[in-house]
């Protein structure tokens, strides 16, 4: 039911872990649905995402989308990262089963939340 690319990311996920003193952290999902994704970003003065890591509780799709989104944004500018949508993440993986499109395809939302968190922190400084 999953594409080869989904299984490849599930088997060898990129950028697993967390960043200590991350510039932004975003978490989406809830335990009722069974998916909780957390994304950490480190961003430099030029607004480039230098490092990104994730930790996810969830199904194969949840893990693979988390992994691929970290790969998609690493080295990208914040405004480029904001253009990544859940739909683009699914496309990058060669598609997801229909029933996974809504519940487990939230990695871009987690990324956007991390960027929002970063902006909120900067505004406070």
């Amino acid at each position: 039911m999953y594409t080869g690319k989904v299984m490849e990311h599930f088997t060898n996920p990129r950028n697993v872990g967390e960043i200590e003193n991350a510039d932004g952290v975003g978490e989406v999902g809830n335990m009722k649905c069974g998916d909780i994704m957390r994304i950490y970003i480190k961003v430099n003065d030029q607004d480039v995402i230098e490092d990104v890591k994730f930790r996810t509780f969830g199904c194969g799709a949840a893990i693979a989308t988390s992994s691929v989104v970290t790969e998609m944004v690493k080295g990208k500018k914040l405004d480029e990262a904001l253009e990544i949508t859940n739909k683009k993440v699914a496309e990058e993986l060669g598609g997801l089963p229909e029933n996974k499109m809504h519940c487990s395809n939230l990695a871009a939302d987690a990324l956007h939340k991390a960027i929002e968190d970063l902006k909120n922190k900067r505004n406070k400084e």
Binding site: F10, V16, M31, C33, R55, F57, G60, A62
Partner: protein, 389 residues
């Protein structure tokens, strides 16, 4: 890669003797059993012999056996048929919160039509209490449906006691025994049941064929119309090869049942003990009143589908009650009814053993599980959080 099948609760491989018995009925003996010519008479005779085998296997009379397309159809004919037939007598139905959806949803559909429905709770082990059944009975109760053994967590229900109570009060009693045959002692008289559902593919028979036992004198309305097959309760040309195979499968299932159950139970216990050695795991279902082949554990901090995929990559077939594997957005209604929180329900792993499994296979599963769990926990957002607290 070596493949290990631990999903016998979902379906089983046809027994070689079953397959052999079926094959001539595809091409050699293909007459319609309703035809009066020699082609028809040949298959009619074989059909009735299969009915005798099934009846003998469960302590019934051949005329009390209705062939259906499987467990789901048997459950629907039983529940809808009995409720409709008895509506002059009353309108109250009793079932449990852990029934298969074929039973639960059939009861809920009747509720929509105006029947009163009591859905009984279960305890932490998924067990229905006889006292709860008794307390729920009113003078309007016409039907009680409680499964013999739960398909997800393997809990074996006190159906004989419930059946006896129903019999004494003149209430029709149905039990879904799909998971039980060939593993638990099964005799319709000992169970005091009026209706009992079976499905061939759960006991090494073919898919698409099942049994509804209907005790003599039990009233059932019909809602499928057609020919006079199966005393009009299940019209339509019979699945002859399937029924022949099922007759053989019942014969095999009943013979050597105790030996088979003992062997599978000992593998089950080894697997349960090994899995529970992994930190933060728990057994779901009853520790003793349990189907011989059922293992169901929750692995904290890990989601079920990701475990199934990881096991599949190692050649091991298992299942889970997580939302992702239940085909809906909610985790297993059985685990939730037992009081599990959502994390533990999503983190459930079911392994159901069968006749083909070996001790070496269990050793292999126990060798790979710790690393699978460790890998998924290393990625898990909730594991990381819990270890910081």
């Amino acid at each position: 890669m070596k493949k290990i099948y631990l999903d016998h609760g979902a379906t089983t491989q046809a027994n070689p003797d079953v397959l052999e018995a079926m094959l001539p009925y595809f091409s050699e003996f293909y007459g319609n059993p309703s035809s009066i010519h020699s082609f028809g008479r040949e298959t009619k005779k074989a059909l009735e012999e299969a009915r005798e085998k099934v009846a003998a296997g469960i302590g019934a009379e051949p005329r009390e056996i209705i062939f259906t397309s499987g467990g789901t159809e048997s459950d629907n004919i039983a529940i809808r048929g009995a409720a409709r037939a008895l509506q002059k007598k009353g309108n109250h139905l009793i079932t449990s919160s852990v029934e298969h959806h074929a039973v639960l949803d059939a009861c809920l559909a009747l509720k929509e039509e105006g029947y009163e429905l009591t859905v009984l709770p279960v305890d932490e082990y998924g067990m229905v209490s006889v006292k709860d059944v008794e307390a729920a009975i009113t003078n309007k109760t016409i039907l009680i449906s409680i499964m013999m053994a739960n398909n997800e967590v393997g809990t074996v229900m006190p159906v004989a006691e419930i059946g006896k109570m129903a019999r004494e009060r003149g209430i029709t009693f149905h039990t879904d025994a799909v998971q039980a045959i060939g593993l638990l002692p099964l005799n319709v008289n000992d169970l005091y049941c009026d209706l009992l559902s079976l499905s061939a593919h759960k006991f090494y028979g073919p898919k698409g064929v099942g049994i509804l036992y209907v005790r003599k004198g039990t009233k059932l309305d019909v809602f499928n119309f057609g020919g006079a097959q199966e005393r009009k309760m299940r019209p339509g040309t019979e699945n002859v090869p399937g029924i022949i195979g099922m007759g053989k499968a019942v014969e095999v299932a009943v013979a050597d049942r105790e030996k088979r159950s003992a062997r599978i139970s000992s593998l089950r216990d080894k697997l349960i003990q090994g899995l529970l050695k992994i930190e933060d795991t728990r057994l779901n279902g009853h520790p003793e009143q349990r189907l011989p082949g059922n293992v169901n554990v929750s692995v904290k901090y890990v989601e079920g589908e990701s475990m199934i995929l990881s096991l599949d990559l190692k050649g091991i077939a298992a299942s889970s009650g997580s939302a992702c594997t239940s085909g809906s957005l909610d985790p297993s209604h059985v685990l939730i009814a037992m009081g599990l929180d959502h994390q533990l329900a999503h983190g459930s792993l079911r392994m159901t053993l069968g006749t083909d499994n070996t001790e070496e296979e269990i050793d292999y599963v126990l060798a790979v599980m710790p690393e699978i769990v460790a890998r998924l926990r290393s990625m898990s957002s909730v594991y990381a959080s819990s270890k910081k607290e």
